[in-house]
Amino acid sequence: MFLPLKQKGYMGPIGDDLPSLIPLMFALVIFFSSFYSTVNIYNDRTVDFENDIAVVQISASLRGTGFIASIHDFNSSCNALNVRQPYFSAGLMDLDKDVNLFNLDEDYLFVGRDLFKCSNTKETLTQEKVLAPNSKIVSRVYPLILQKNSVSFPVKLVVVAWKE
């Protein structure tokens, strides 16, 4: 029933290895938690880069030569875009106007009946979407010239992209 005196430290083939399991488990927990955190950060940053690249492509296409002669000019640049993800909303705005992400459609420039807006979604940004833990929003602004009846007005191109 009892172990012989000289074998009192011996706790059986598994029991003897129990102390070594503590650093082993500790190592595994640290490794997997840091691996999980690394994968999360990697994915987050990759999404950020995808949004950044999309915004650069969209703005480069819409800016063109930096001179927009008419709504047809703007629309043809917009139609040439083939971006499905991320969602984006872009348009021209007065230089003085502050960009309000929740009210973009109303702030875009109207000339006559023409709205200078280009978007790949009917969705709009809401406070819930912006405040969501995984929300990724990139916004860029560029100055441009808009020509109206031979007069060149400085305006700004606003591009906002987001992933849901």
């Binding site: 430290g9 650093p23 595994l28 955190s37 950020d48 560029y142 441009l144 007005f153």
Partner: protein, 249 residues
């Protein structure tokens, strides 16, 4: 015999712990690598993206400034021929060239150009400081127009924490004294000091009233992330800038 067996058994236990500690060490080095990878991943791409935005903005802004319309009669610009709207519309840069032609300096349309620059830079005024200058290569370099806008920061200390950081925009015309020994080397020194995030340059030909041979030069816009330095900073002092006081009203 039993004694020898007991020793072997104890040795086996120690070996298992040593193995586990070695494993822990290997895992720790892997974790250190993961942390290093995480901190570095995408850093260069992020910096490149910001720098690209700076240069894209600078080139768009310069084009916008050069092609903006300007009302010579001082009336408002309209997109239709309404009463009270300007009938004499021209490019602002044409007026600036005309201004240069008579005395090789930009005086009369200086404010109009400054207003246009400030308007175009308005969307990024909280992120960037900037300067725009025209440099003419007429034997020695001359700078008939040199506008600089920067922010000066003030803060208060609340114990060990900094609180109430305020940024005040200050605008300057530089190279204010023509007699100063202002030169390209000093300008280059300032550009290195601020570490620009975006630059755009365009060639410009400035005609002269007295000669059929125009002066060739450049118009350059430089943006940088707002940097906190005081007016006594040597690189800035070298630019010989004079604050535009009327701006504070």
């Amino acid at each position: 015999m039993e004694r020898i067996a007991g020793k072997k058994i104890n040795s086996k236990g120690q070996a298992a712990i040593t193995d586990a500690l070695f494993f822990l060490m290997v895992v720790m080095s892997l974790v250190a690598f993961l942390f290093f990878f995480t901190s570095q991943y995408g850093r260069t791409v992020g910096e490149y993206s910001n720098s690209k935005y700076g240069s894209d903005y600078a080139s768009s802004a310069l084009k916008t400034i050069l092609y903006s319309s300007f009302a010579r009669d001082g009336l408002p610009l309209c997109d239709s021929e309404k009463e009270g709207c300007s009938q004499e519309v021209d490019y602002l840069i044409a007026a600036v060239k005309e201004d240069y032609a008579d005395d090789k300096n930009i005086n009369y349309f200086k404010e109009n150009l400054t207003d246009s620059v400030k308007k175009v830079m308005q969307p990024v005024r909280n992120s960037f400081d900037y300067m725009l200058f025209i440099r003419v290569d007429a034997g020695a370099f001359e700078f008939p127009y040199f506008f600089l806008s920067r922010k000066e920061f003030t803060s208060t200390y609340d114990g060990v924490f900094v609180s109430g950081v305020e940024a005040k925009e200050r605008n300057y015309y530089c190279n204010s004294s023509q007699a100063s020994s202002f030169n390209q080397a000093k300008l280059d020194n300032f550009i290195v000091f601020i570490g620009p995030k975006g630059q755009s340059v365009s060639s410009i030909s400035l005609p002269l009233a007295e000669s059929s041979q125009p002066h060739e030069g450049i118009i350059q816009l430089v943006l940088w992330t707002s940097k906190d330095f005081n007016a006594e900073e040597q690189a800035f002092k070298n630019l010989d800038c004079k604050e535009i006081v009327a701006e504070e009203k």
